[in-house]
Symmetry: C2
Subunit: 560 residues, 2 copies
């Protein structure tokens, strides 16, 4: 059987201008990158984003195993199914990051017959957005240290520079570094570190900006550190004061334009923006989603990781500032993940096990209940794997229906859009019959600690929150400076609904540990780092990179 990369590389694709035409974009509205990728010009984005035409189908998932449960694949398969039903449809996804691609995952463009293409290019440099974010972020870092080195007119405290550097790489070696060693001409000695580019505030800003002007305003509001002196007189220093906001925007001038590619069945796919959902806000750009909603009748969009991460952040951070209320939420589950949550061991996830399945439903139920708390209609999609027991799939579907939730199996890996027709039907019915009655979990005007407590108790199922003294002090400091009204972006493990990656199911009787607070004033939120979550991953013992190769004809192997 062919693997994903083989299927993708031998697929016959439409020229990208033909894909654009399917949703009313002319060849003049796009800028080609090769034959099968393009950026949408800002004029066309402005035109399309002016009015919402389409229904928004938000795809999320239950808490996944490390292998992932195929949320992206289901989103693509559902899009292909809606296409087969004659709907004018588009899908919006996040861009892959080189770090995980060369580390563990080996790619992020769907699977089997439900993929976006060209997968090799999308998984590599694509249209350069990640590199643009990296460059803009690190230009600011260089300018901050240069400012200190050249006389430090702003009085920045080198010990209180909070702006780190980024690299799109899994680089544990760069998590904690000392820079500025050498001689007098080699800068200022201080401790700092690198995050992965997906965690950069510049990435969040890019994904939340409405246009170039908004981008510049947000970049200017980002803070890079504090001045020296006693706490009363200390103040935050902004990127605007450093003076490179214009240059950063110049570096991002193309990255802000949504990227257009296609599904294996020829539907338009906007793949744009790549913040991770565990350490960042985890959703593709609002410009991509708005553009798609202005051009298509149905837009499938996807948030990262489980519904307590990407989806929660979309509902609490993105929707209140954009009005992009979903018409329906598709919650992706898999039999193997339910086995996992029910206690099955790693090697046994594909073995039928009704007992584990039954227990594992606790995780699914929690996510269903959470989505309902937001007032949103929900449909469950059971992503079918080849080894799945049909009886177990039926059991999950019946369980959902007993809760009054539509549920269907999605056989989109093996059958493409054809395998998603039942799911598409359930989604369309739900859109027709149910109306969203959207309400966020917290109001922005609540205190910062209160917002985190509400997420902990109402979404994650904790009894409460423990703040380290540093975190508590940082929250107070932010409130005192007038930033208490920002929403909260919780950085939390994707392997559990709790902050402990080893806990499965839907645990209760635990407390969320918030160890560090980082202001993201340009993105417009406050990051709360919980548990052991790290903003720079490491490579595993056998990185995916070891398996990759390219032959003389340019054919790539080892991306999957």
């Amino acid at each position: 059987m062919e693997n994903d990369a083989e299927i993708n590389q031998r697929a016959s694709l439409l020229p990208i201008w033909q894909v654009a035409e399917r949703i009313g974009l002319s060849a003049d509205d796009i800028e080609p990158y090769g034959r099968y990728m393009a950026k949408v010009r800002m004029e066309a984005v402005r035109r399309a984003a002016r009015e919402r035409r389409g229904r928004l189908i938000y795809t999320t998932a239950i808490t996944a195993t490390p292998a992932g449960e195929g949320k992206t694949t289901v989103a693509i398969g559902l899009t292909q199914a809606l296409g087969r039903l004659g709907k004018r449809v588009a899908v919006c996804l996040r861009e892959p990051s080189l770090g995980p691609t060369f580390g563990v995952k080996g790619g992020a463009t769907g699977g089997g017959l439900s993929q976006v293409a060209p997968m090799v290019d999308i998984n590599l440099h694509f249209t350069g957005d990640m590199h643009a974010v990296t460059s803009a972020h690190n230009l600011l870092a260089a300018a901050v240290d240069n400012h200190i080195h050249q006389g430090n007119a702003l009085g920045l405290d080198p010990k209180r520079v909070s702006w780190r550097r980024v690299m799109d790489m899994n680089e544990r070696q760069l998590r904690h570094v000392v820079v500025g060693l050498g001689g007098a001409g080699d800068g200022v000695v201080r401790e700092t570190g690198f995050d992965i580019t997906a965690a950069s505030e510049v990435m969040a800003v890019l994904c939340l900006s409405r246009d170039l002007r908004d981008l510049k305003e947000r970049l200017g509001r980002m803070v890079v550190g504090q001045t020296a002196g006693p706490s009363r007189s200390r103040r935050w220093v902004s990127a605007r004061e450093i003076g490179v906001v214009g240059a950063m925007a110049v570096l991002l001038k193309d990255a802000i334009k949504p990227n257009l590619v296609q599904t294996l069945e020829g539907q338009p796919a906007f793949v744009h923006g790549g913040p991770f959902a565990n350490i960042a806000h985890g959703n593709n750009s609002i410009l991509a989603t708005q553009t798609a909603l202005g051009l298509a009748d149905y837009v499938v969009t996807e948030g990262g990781f489980a519904a307590d991460l990407g989806a929660e952040k979309f509902f609490d951070i993105v929707v209140p500032q954009t009005g992009l209320v979903p018409d329906v939420v598709v919650l992706v589950a898999s039999i193997r993940a339910l086995h996992h949550h029910g206690g099955a061991s790693k090697g046994d996830l594909h073995t039928p096990n009704r007992d584990a399945l039954q227990k594992g439903l606790s995780n699914l139920d929690r996510h269903i209940a959470n989505i309902r708390k937001f007032g949103l209609p929900v449909v469950v999609a059971v992503n079918r794997f080849a080894a799945d027991d049909p009886g177990e799939i039926r059991a999950v579907i019946e369980h959902c229906r007993s809760l009054g939730v539509r549920a269907e199996a999605a056989d989109v890996v093996a059958r493409g859009g054809e395998g998603g027709l039942e799911l598409a039907g359930a989604v369309l019915e739900t859109i027709e019959e149910e109306r969203p009655d959207f309400r966020p979990i917290y109001r922005w005007e609540e205190p910062l600690a209160g917002k985190i407590e509400r997420l902990a108790t109402e979404i994650y199922g904790a009894d409460g929150v423990d703040f380290t003294p540093e975190a508590a002090a940082a929250l107070e400091d932010l409130s005192a400076h007038g930033f208490g009204g920002l929403p909260v972006c919780v950085a939390k493990t994707q392997f559990s609904i709790t902050d402990d990656p080893s806990l499965r199911g839907a645990p209760t009787g635990w407390r969320l540990k918030v160890r560090e607070i980082r202001p993201s004033l340009g993105a417009g939120f406050v990051i709360a780092l919980t548990g052991e979550i790290m903003t720079m991953p490491g490579l595993p013992k056998e990185p995916a990179a070891l398996r990759m190769d390219i032959d003389e004809t340019g054919y790539v192997t080892g991306l999957s």
Copy 2:
């Protein structure tokens, strides 16, 4: 008067497929990046590079002032002039680096009416080659440290890891760093540093590779460090042993394809590969030059900095392995640089000063003599600046003619190709009347120290070479390991023909100081770092980035 960026951004450009057609490339032979940039597909590169059709015009310069004397501008203007004379012509240039663009220079695409376009995009991310080199380089770095962290099966000595990291940024703060701090899961504590991407061995490899297979072989030969143990048993560890050569080649699969853009007068311009000539080998990719030579009758190519740097490295490193012998060398001089070499002060370079001019000719004469040592015909181009005194220009031209060298003024900034017609005539006459009798300065089989000494005495005008004990030991070690037959790439200041940036003219009675040796076994040369030269520049007090901006329509200012 309009500045360079204004001229460039308002120029009406040809669609890139029309530019390609001018040298016989079809729309199928190229991959567009937007409307005005493209990569040439490898099939077309192979076809074109099979046979040399054109004459090669190598453009270099005398030792420049920090502002530069317009070598790129003259190369472009000469190309435009040859185009006006009805010749089938193309120009080959190196790609700009973001570091200097945001640091001092603000761009590297020519000036006035002699530019390549679109300058904003070429100066920013272009087609992503620099980012691809950065990613490939840093993937290897991450894999090396991961190898050590995960058990170190190869027995690498953390203290002898020679593979550094790179960033395309002027980042003095990262010259000397300690990485791997933090806890047990955060890697191995050791000292290292970052170089600018233009100094990466991966960049050199990319520029010297004949095809994807050669690229992989060269990447595999690169060394990353030495094993632990007493010096007798120590051995070099190669990138191939680390296991990510295939993945690096995957990252470079598009970067290896030459980029096609156009001059302001519509001639094809291959802008591909960007090693600096002071700290690296300083020439665009051999694939670009070979492709151009297979398609055009005249190819103007340009080497970085003065003739003791980019040109010397082209003649001694590139030509012996490619046979790309130039038919003629154009040596660019300017009145202000000659004033500078004659002792005029920085503020007075544009003031007529016959005495300084006369003295400054020593630098021009040295470079002319050097080019003749290589057995190559030479033409001097005096790049005219608006403030130049016509009498001084005439004096320089007459001086050259007294040496038997054709010389013409080039008024290409103000007048474009029209202003380069006399120069083009002199170049064409020289090609018709003189034949290159090429001989490199050294034979590769001479000892490494002997090669450096020959360059020092015959090209730079030194009395001899002083090696630090570390450098001498490294040369011995390399010879003992069988690498004594590699050519030498000297890293040396661009501000003087000596290793001391403050010395002007053509000094004698000094000795070259070689302080460090770095093997570049993939590139196939040994780097000798001299004087105070650094492989990571810093930002000035007022970086060019502070002046840059973009408005809501996407119009960029401050790049120049």
